[in-house]
Amino acid sequence: MAVEVTDAAPKASFWRDQRNRAIITQIVVVSAFLSLVWFIVDNTISNLDRLGIEPGFDFMGNIAGFMPTGPNFNITNFDVNTSTHGDVFVLGLVNTILIAACGILLSTIVGFIFGVLRLSSNMLISFVAAVYIEFTRNVPLLLQILIWYFGVFLLLPNVRNSASIGDVIFLNDRYLTFPSPIFESGFVLFPIAIILSIGGIVALAKWAKKRQDATGQQFPVFWASLGVLIVVPFLALVVTGFPVSWNIPSLQGFNFQGGAQAPAAFWALLAALTFYTGAFIAENVRAGIQAVSHGQTEAAYALGLRPGLTMRKIIIPQALRVIVPPTTSQYLNLTKNSSLAIAIGYPDLVNVFTGISLNQTGNAVEIIALTMLVYLTISLMISLFMNWYNKRIALVER
């Protein structure tokens, strides 16, 4: 008895076909999404109409009429009489980038130090590091910001009794004030000299590596670089006759005049962000170093490398592969967390633009969309940079 053989696979019923199901699901989801969007847009338009709010970005040109920052922490020269909401936006953006950049730098240092201390063979030191990490990670950042602000910086002496370092830097419960440089003509040479010496150092390092590869002779790159970096810019200053003078703050009446001031809110926010994010980075560093097998260390010792060199040439490059990706997301978190500035009145983007400007103009949709766009852009930029860096240090396989 012959079995009938057909080429065609048995055809599934229409509803059992995976492709049809996928198409139907997508149609349902997309139309639900579109109707939600339509619902929101429709309501928003009628609500804006009812409330008499003019949609669009015209409000950015209106005079803001409030002073979002202290007189000497005014990086963008904001003027209360002429500056617009657009200027408020710029001011907030600059302050956000400032605090994020400082925070990323410092938290990386703190994180690496405590990550290494956590692994110390000294029980006491690793215990102290563990206590710091556990306590900081398990208490909300906002609370830590308030503790730094109300519990530390606001308890400093008042303006008239400021603590001073050498009578040029003064610290009180409102700000830290320090001399600001006044650049005279000819100062351009100084940054040029720095750039040139950095270029020289890079070339030197390349040459030294090439020579070592070829002949085995080593060259003290570090000390030579340090010398170049100090001597060349100093020479530039000498040649141009020190074209920089300092505006030293001095107490006049109830306040300090001159110099630059960074408000207590800045330091409190910076301290909180640094130590909070530092604790997370410390855990990443610990995990990264522990991920490098002990055989690597033993192999390095067997080759005769000293402990310092083993750490620098063998352990750290391998640990970085594990450390970098989670640390990237900590950098992103730090940038986003800087928006908590609003709790203590540091004039960052969310505080002055999303907070005060929104209250004044009522253009909620535009302002919140713009704020989100800014953070989206910053996040994307940090991700792109760290992805590039990650690719550079990643294991190169066949």
Binding site: A22, T25, Q26, V128, N138, L143, L146, L340
Partner: protein, 481 residues
């Protein structure tokens, strides 16, 4: 000549290790003074301890003022922490501005969560103990609710019947085969509704039609449904489904609309630790199922449109700070809805925090999904399992197990992030602490208030992280060295 040579013929007896290598000295040397820089480090740390520990202990314990009626009682030379202030304001820290005669309601909700959650969370606890504790709890609860607090008059007949039915369901369940499953079902199907009724009061028809009601329905339905589906594998499917259905309808009909006949407690009186816990629990309950759905959507390669929507949502939410999302919930949500529909402040914050947490949860779950080898998917398909069965029976149990540490750390982050609602003016633990020291009677006690709430946050977060370690160990079924 040969007699000058000295050849040792027998083995020398073992010498004891040098005194510097063993005992207390050896231990000290190895752990504290192994190198010169370790010695310096030890001495520096000891000096810092000497500077800080006695002073801190003195402030916290020895010189502390435990009994005070105002900050004047703590203003003398050498006074330490003013714990009398915390003691006097403790109600505010725990319950916010909730009516004092109603404190038993949130306490009961908390206790219920504890009693039902512990057996689900810790499987080592023997079933009989679970049954016993739950039974005693049910009995004690009944006595407390009916007699102890004089609330009898405010309970009407149908509510009383509902209450008894609920207690009966639980106590009957615990002595059945699987008290743990009953606890899981109670948490999922009954607990949300009961807690809403207890915390807020009866949700009547009018307020159900308002935004508050819709939001409560939507959130609780999502939370209950998602968790119920997920946890139903703890019983056999039909039993779980029926139990869940019964519990669900009992809860919905009896508790939500009759609401024990309790008075309404407006949400603007919610505050303190209670509000923090409400926010965290709801956000945790919503974010896990929603995160799983988003992660599955993101991995749905055959549906590019769904994939795009999920990726767009996840990446947008993860790229912006929580505070902008809270601002959005605060200022933009009223614009998005038709005129007259108004959300409660607490519900708005809940929506914001939950959506925020879902995006992070989705990424954690996606990590787990990516770690499952393709062979598992293919094996499930070749067994003829459809998409949902494949995910629920084969993929998700493995994927979620891998990412438990990630899930718990998201929970911890979420718990800490609830403090941000203080910025939009909700009286959570942080804002209570911040505003309680502006009371003229207790001016200038920031240190005490912040120290205290830092401790509270720490206990919760540290507890969660320890639990995650415990769970990791328990679920580690692979090869462990």
């Amino acid at each position: 000549m040969s007699d000058l040579a000295y050849n040792k013929t027998e083995r020398h007896e073992d010498l004891p290790p040098p005194a510097s290598e063993v005992g207390v000295f050896g231990w000290l040397r190895h752990n504290f003074f192994s190198t010169w820089y370790n010695s310096i480090g030890t001495l520096v740390v000891l000096y810092l301890f000497y500077l800080m520990v006695p002073a801190t202990l003195d402030w916290v314990l020895f010189s502390a003022v435990w009994d005070a009626t105002s900050n004047q009682d703590c203003r003398f030379e050498g006074a330490g922490a003013c714990w009398g202030f915390i003691d006097a304001r403790l109600n505010l820290f725990w319950y916010g501005f909730y009516d004092i005669e109603n404190y038993w309601r949130p306490s009961l909700v908390g206790l219920m969560l504890l009693v039902f959650a512990v057996p689900v969370l810790f499987e080592k606890i023997p079933a009989k103990l679970v049954g016993g504790v739950t039974g005693v709890f049910g009995l004690g609860w009944a006595v407390w609710a009916f007699g102890g607090l004089g609330q009898v008059a405010s309970l009407n007949l149908p509510v009383t019947i509902g209450l008894l039915a609920f207690i009966g369901l639980i106590t009957a369940g615990v002595f059945l085969r699987s008290p743990r499953s009953v606890c899981a079902i109670a948490i999922v199907g009954v607990f949300p509704w009961v807690s809403v009724s207890l915390l807020y009061g009866p949700v009547n028809v009018e307020s159900l039609q308002s935004g508050l009601g819709i939001a409560v329905y939507a959130i609780l339905f999502l939370a209950g449904g998602g968790f119920g589906y997920w946890s139903s594998k703890r019983l056999d499917a039909l039993g779980a489904f029926l139990g869940y259905l019964v519990a669900y309808f009992v809860a919905v009909i009896v508790f939500l609309s009759w609401g024990f006949g309790l008075t309404i407690q407006p949400t603007n009186t919610f505050g303190g630790l209670m509000l923090t816990l409400v926010l965290a629990t709801v956000a945790i309950g919503v974010s896990l199922p929603l995160g799983i759905i988003l992660a599955l959507g993101r991995r749905a390669d055959n549906m590019p449109a769904v994939q795009m929507l999920c990726i767009g949502f996840i990446e947008l939410v993860r790229a912006v700070p929580l505070i902008t999302i809270l601002f959005m919930a605060q200022f933009m949500l009223p614009l998005f809805l038709p005129e007259g529909v108004n959300f409660d402040n607490v519900v708005r914050a809940l929506v914001g925090v939950s959506l925020f947490a879902s995006a992070y949860m989705a990424e954690v779950v996606r990590g787990g999904l990516q770690a499952i080898p393709k062979g598992q998917f293919e094996a499930a398909e070749s067994l003829g399992l459809n998409y949902f069965l494949k995910m629920r029976l084969i993929v998700l149990p493995q994927a979620l197990k891998i990412v438990i540490p990630g899930i718990v750390s998201t929970f911890i982050g979420l718990f800490k992030d609830t403090s941000l609602v203080s910025i939009i003016g909700l009286m959570d633990l942080l804002l209570i602490a911040k505003s309680s020291v502006t009371d003229s009677k207790w001016l200038g006690l920031e240190h005490e208030a912040y120290f205290f709430i830092a401790l509270v946050y720490f206990v919760f977060c540290f507890g969660m992280s320890r639990y995650s370690i415990y769970l990791e160990g328990k679920l580690h079924t692979g090869h462990k060295r």
